[in-house]
């Protein structure tokens, strides 16, 4: 019998880390503390060329001080790093590639730096591994993209090196677990070092160094929408969503995207939703950041639970005061967790509703433009039908039963289906048509040498499109041709919409595949701001009993 037992050490990673930590030991004091002036030297001691490195760059909180310090290392010593991180929203994240310190990038979301990502790919400064969803990338941290060194971010450390990540825990537990349990090195920047933490989110023995940052980490209020900016058209779309989708399907478990349509719907739950008799029948369980515009619905008793991907500036005190609704710790404050929220988002939601920049004639939608490699964060996980799902809810089952020719395609096996809804005006910013023949994602794929056009939601996962013209119930379309006809029928005066044939649209309305506001019994003249439970930021503060504390730039009264 052939036996090929390898002769090797099984502790290479551990020994490698020990050597690096030995080189760094002169910078590390009691409680793993490192002076912020020594950060660059610390990074030069623990990072080697070609390492896989994570800088905690989340949707919201940013290890910004560590990102800036990494840009200051000697590129003769450290180069060709392979960066793996959720998001690259900071200038410093891309400066690493300009400065020749990093070479390869695997990520999920580009944000404001998306233009530079595309440019650097074209110029050969950046080698793109892949664009992921958050969950995909987290999965790969535990598979083939495990960081050797992770630079993370927390609110507080204690004098032993335990961390409090609190309200904005977000990605930290995922990054630290992947790194530390493969013998990697974890370095944390914290806003302050204190004697006692409110609670321990990350234990000290998973942390190698703690730096009190010269300034608090950057945090962006990404999910705050001023009710004063909600338009009548968004209110009309919101009325259609509530009466034509939320109500009839009984959608209880869902996520809202960050657009103003979500804002309109959230603010109409206590008014129009109440009038439709939907309280307790919809929106009881949500996967959602702490949207300030949910306050009126929460205060009116609509919601049972909300689990959060991340936090939201100014919402901490309100959230801490509603522990029946939000997931708060023994200390009383929220612990967000992107990995768990996205898991629920992928598997357990009945519906995802969001917006997009473009929808093509087949129903594929993307926010990609020709010159920006932006990625889609978590939207593709929530905006798809998760084939691994097995538990049944009413709306999931109902949506799955709507396909008229399901027996011809699936045989006799009953199936459910996630509702995936795109709500858009037919023309967006600057009157750019939302409905297009071909997505700009194709041009981006060409410009940035991508293997595939980046699509946020594939047409065959999309079940409903809502525009000012009506709702297209794509879940009721037996084939691609009728799906395309339904899309044309709600595409308004765009080139795609002009190809709609009036007789065909009439047939689709009779078949319940297209419903106009009139078909739904919605009076368009009621689509105005009087339906909003809060009309401005101050109303939200009032609803919250003074617990919501909006960021300065939203304090407009």
């Amino acid at each position: 019998m052939l036996q090929t037992k390898v002769n090797r050490s099984w502790e290479n990673a551990k020994q490698d880390t020990a050597q690096r930590m030995e080189a760094a030991s002169r910078f590390i004091g009691n409680g793993k503390q490192v002076k912020h002036e020594d950060t660059v030297a610390l990074l030069e001691a623990v990072i080697r060329p070609y390492d896989i490195v994570n800088i905690e760059g989340n949707n919201q909180k940013q290890a910004d001080f560590l990102a800036e310090c990494l840009n200051k290392v000697d590129r003769g010593k450290i180069h060709d790093l392979h960066m793996v991180q959720s998001a690259v929203p900071l200038k410093a994240h891309l400066d690493l590639f300009e400065n020749g310190i990093a070479k390869k990038l695997d990520f999920a979301f580009g944000g404001p730096q998306a233009g530079r990502v595309a440019e650097f790919i074209r110029d050969g400064k950046l080698e793109l591994g892949a664009i992921h969803t958050y969950l995909e990338l987290f999965g790969r941290y535990f598979l083939d993209l495990t960081p050797k060194v992770s630079l993370i971010c927390a609110y507080k450390a204690d004098r032993k090196g335990n961390l409090y990540t609190g309200f904005n825990t977000e990605d930290t537990p995922t990054i630290v677990e992947a790194t530390k349990f493969r013998q990697g090195i974890v370095i944390a920047q914290v806003n302050e070092i204190v004697d006692e933490l409110p609670r321990v989110d990350i234990p000290a023995d998973w942390i190698d160094a703690v730096i009190e940052s010269p300034r608090p980490f950057f945090l962006e209020p990404l999910f705050t929408r001023d009710p004063a900016l909600v338009t009548d058209t968004q209110i009309l779309l919101g009325m259609m969503c509530l009466k034509g989708i939320y109500g009839p399907y009984g959608v209880k478990r869902l996520n809202h995207g960050i657009g103003f349509l979500s804002t309109a719907i959230e603010l109409m739950l206590p008014t129009y939703g109440e009038e439709l008799g939907l309280k307790g029948k919809i929106c009881t369980h949500m996967i959602l950041n702490p949207h300030p515009t949910m306050i009126p619905a929460i205060e009116s008793g609509w919601v049972e639970t909300i689990h959060c991907f991340g936090g939201e500036l100014g919402m901490d005190e309100y959230v801490a005061s509603r522990p029946d609704i939000f997931f708060t710790g023994p200390d009383g404050t929220l612990r967000s967790n992107r990995a768990f929220a996205q898991t629920a988002g992928h598997y357990a939601l009945d519906m995802f509703i969001g917006g997009t920049l473009q929808i093509d004639k087949y129903g594929n939608s993307s926010t990609a433009t020709a010159n920006r490699v932006a990625g889609f964060g978590g939207a593709p996980n929530m905006g798809c039908d998760a084939k691994g799902r097995r538990h049944v809810t009413e709306s999931w089952l109902k949506c799955g039963q709507e396909l008229p020719n399901r027996e011809a395609i699936q045989g006799d096996m009953p199936r459910g289906r996630r509702l995936v809804v795109q709500g858009v005006e037919t023309f967006g910013e600057g009157r750019a048509p939302v409905f297009v023949d071909k997505l700009d994602a194709w041009k981006l794929a060409e410009n940035a040498n991508l293997d595939l056009p980046p699509v946020m939601i594939y047409g065959d996962d999309l079940t409903h499109i809502v525009t000012e013209e009506g709702i297209a119930y794509l879940s009721r379309c037996p084939d691609l041709e009728s799906r395309m006809a339904a899309i044309r029928g709600v595409a308004g005066y765009t080139e795609i919409g002009l190809q709609a044939k009036p007789e065909e649209t009439k047939r689709l309305r009779e078949a319940g595949i297209i419903m106009t506001p009139e078909d739904l019994g919605i009076d368009r003249s009621r689509a105005n701001r009087s339906l909003l439970a809060a009309k401005n930021m101050q109303d939200l503060v009032t609803w919250s009993g003074g617990l919501y504390n909006p960021p300065a730039r939203f304090r407009n009264w």
Binding site: T231, D232, T233, L236, E425, T426, F427, G428, G430, R431, T467, E468, G492, Y493, L498, R524, S525, A527
Partner: protein, 105 residues
């Protein structure tokens, strides 16, 4: 900011809706558009005068105006729109609202 003016008429051989007094809707400075709609005897046609900060959407304006005249049956009217980058959805909504208000008087 230079404004571009667009003038056109949509014929309506058999109007079913006529206007009473002139009606004004919206404020261009703080909103998406301002609209003045008034009665004007011109053989059934509805004339439009559009002032907009953006160009390149002449066909789109005509499509929306045409759809509105066909849908409403309005005739013998003049509509002035001072646009502030309104989308077609908003233009149509405001036209419907203006007509509903104007005919209710």
């Amino acid at each position: 900011m230079a404004l571009n003016q667009l003038n056109f008429s949509i014929e309506n051989a058999s109007p079913t809706v006529a206007l009473g007094e002139a009606f004004h809707l919206g404020v261009v400075g703080s909103g998406d558009l301002e609209m003045i709609i008034e009665s004007k005897e011109q053989g059934g046609a509805v004339s439009f005068q559009i002032l907009s900060p953006v160009t390149g959407f002449d066909d789109l304006w005509k499509r929306v105006a045409d759809a509105f005249v066909r849908e409403s049956g309005l005739g013998n009217a003049h509509i002035e729109i001072n646009d502030n980058n309104a989308t077609p959805a908003v233009v149509m909504l405001r036209l419907r609202q203006a007509l509903a208000e104007a005919t209710a008087r």
